[in-house]
């Protein structure tokens, strides 16, 4: 049976339209992670929308206990993002805020379709290797991947490592006490300085001992904290976000 080209086109799956939540950290400091996220989503076949009115998810005051301030911010974010498209976030922490934190602030609010980037790529789009088309010369990288803790509350599991392991040139190395938190914890990092930095240094000791040259994670919060320690102490580790590694595999 033959099908006319026109009909074929209408049978083809529609491009998924997704809405990017940039996150305040990427807005303020790490624009490249936002850029990488858009490139990755587009390579995955998505049309990316970005609402320039967006600010922050409200997690900082929420974690501090100032729920009135958190509601002020979150209320607005809900309005901006309640448009039906999947909300893609290059951070497990902000995703957890949207999915787990918001119902605590607004008990009547339904579940927002928020997804951490890797979760969306693998579990929603069904992508199980990266890049989708072979490209260029792979750069060899020995990566220690830190699973950011908010992945626990949204059930991320090892989905980020699963996809990274398929990137040509990437070697994931294991390290001791992998499942331990990095000690960031938002404002905790500045109010519990000694404890936070102590936890971070212990994490870095274990990572350095693994022989990794790159420390990667899916959350810029953890990476900003660990990166700050790395810079201060002159530790020979390069810090990269999950999205940057995926986007890097496209640009060769």
């Amino acid at each position: 049976m033959s099908v006319a080209p026109r009909e074929l086109e209408s049978l083809a799956p529609k491009k998924p339209r997704v809405r990017l939540m940039l996150t305040c950290l990427c807005d303020a400091y790490f624009g490249e992670i936002g850029i990488a996220t858009v490139k990755v989503l587009e390579h995955a076949g998505c049309e990316v929308l970005f609402d320039e009115r967006q600010t922050c998810c409200g997690q900082p005051p929420f974690n501090a206990g100032d729920w009135d301030s958190a509601r002020t911010v979150a209320d607005r974010t809900v309005e901006l993002f309640r448009t039906g498209e999947p909300i893609i976030v290059p951070s497990g922490s902000c995703t957890a805020m949207l999915r787990e934190g918001y119902p605590m602030l607004f008990p009547k609010l339904g579940r927002l379709p928020a997804f951490e980037l890797s979760e969306y790529l693998v579990r929603e789009l069904g992508i199980n290797s990266w890049p989708r088309r072979p490209l260029g010369n792979p750069k060899p990288m020995k990566i220690a991947f830190h699973r950011a803790c908010h992945g626990r509350s949204i059930g991320l599991g090892d989905v980020q490592e699963f996809l990274l392991a398929t990137v040509p040139g990437v070697e994931l190395v294991r390290f001791d006490q992998e499942e331990q938190c990095c000690g960031f914890g938002g404002a905790f990092s500045a109010t519990f300085t000694k404890v936070s930095a102590g936890i971070g240094r212990e994490k870095l000791r274990n990572i350095v001992a693994s022989g990794a040259t790159v420390l990667a994670s899916g959350d810029m919060g953890c990476l900003m904290h660990l990166g700050g320690l790395i810079e201060r102490e002159g530790i020979p580790l390069k810090v990269m976000h999950f999205a940057e590694i995926l986007a890097g595999a496209l640009s060769e």
Partner: protein
Amino acid sequence: MRSPRVEENARKVSPEATASVRSATAAVTLARQNALPAYFKDVDRATAHAAAIKDYVLDNLGSLLEQLEGNCQANGIQVHWAQHAASANKIIGDICARSAPGGIVVKAKSMATEEIHLNHSLEAAGFEVVETDLGEYVVQIDHDRPSHIVAPIIHKNRREIAKSFEREGLGPYTEVPEELAMQARARLREKFQSAEIGISGVNFAVAESGRLVLLENEGNNRLSTTAPQVHIAVMGIEKVLPREGDLPLFLRLLAGSATGQKLGSYVHFISGPRRPDEIDGPRDVHLVLLDNGRTQVMAGKYKEILRCIRCGACQNVCPVYREASGHAYGHVYAGPIGAVLAPALEGVEKLGDLAKASTLCGACQEACPVQIPIPRMLLELRDDAYRAGVIHEGIPWGAFAFAASSSWRWRAGLKMLPVASTAPNPLKKGWTDSRAMPSRVGRSFRRWWNERS
């Protein structure tokens, strides 16, 4: 800005103590992770089942306790109800005074008696109180405090223990664990032989049978509860279980989660005093049911914290506990369990700041054998504590919310960031004490987005 209490205390912790805590907690965590799947085909189902049983207990506590009381009395166990720490101490003090004024009291490890500071009260009344759990014994001779609910001296290394034993004249200096244990054993044996009263905690008490169940590894519980003429067991009221049939699940979960064992070396089922045809065992057995704030917790939103079976798994996995160690919390219940239980029992006004001592990483909830949603409770406690005015750290969240609720204020704020980051701000010093200040890396997303579309 004043540092939070746990941070301030953590600064005083020695690197040796942190090292001891780190290696011991990591080892026990690994043992737990291996032990539970070896026994339960589906660990999550087992813990969900245990959580459901505990919720049933909490929902039916009054009737279960009455059933327990009736069956204990039928077994010859004398039951006492204590609403507060002070009344518990008085009940226990009176029993001791009646039975053996000024005598020797041997104690098996019990968090309930730590909670009510029983030792102080008995010592003030003229009793010699001897802790017989090895860890608790070291705590006692060092005038220290337990820093972990299962392993009281997790903050000490072998060398420190050896020095304490030498100082107390227990024998020649040695760092060999078996030799240290033998020295303590010899000293404690004398005490067991001359003690008139033994005090223990309770891991589980079964309502349908009136039996008290204790789990241990050293054998000191056995001696404390059988050698003296009088045994007093102290338990928080939430420790009751409905049926004997619940025990296999809970014993396995407790042993596996606390130490990575299949079961403790000793499991005791105490169903009353010595019977006329028996040659040993105590003449009197007392059970003290301790409320001390629990019924009030049950009525509120932190009720699920009373599912706790005191396994310590949440302490072992907690990054803050590992770094700061238990003493930093300043409470008998340290770590994640303590950060919820302590303020829930004693009030958010007094201890609500403990809820801030967490990165909210969620490792505690993952480890908990009764699935207590600790991170969610920490967040709710922060909400309560903030409204009570006890955790204001001088961070202007209202101003942040004001900026983040308008796009132009937000963007104006972002432009100001390089300038603002040079201004003094309450978070900046804490951050830069140990880390480089973050700065813009590469391009601005917004500019890139605008230029491309």
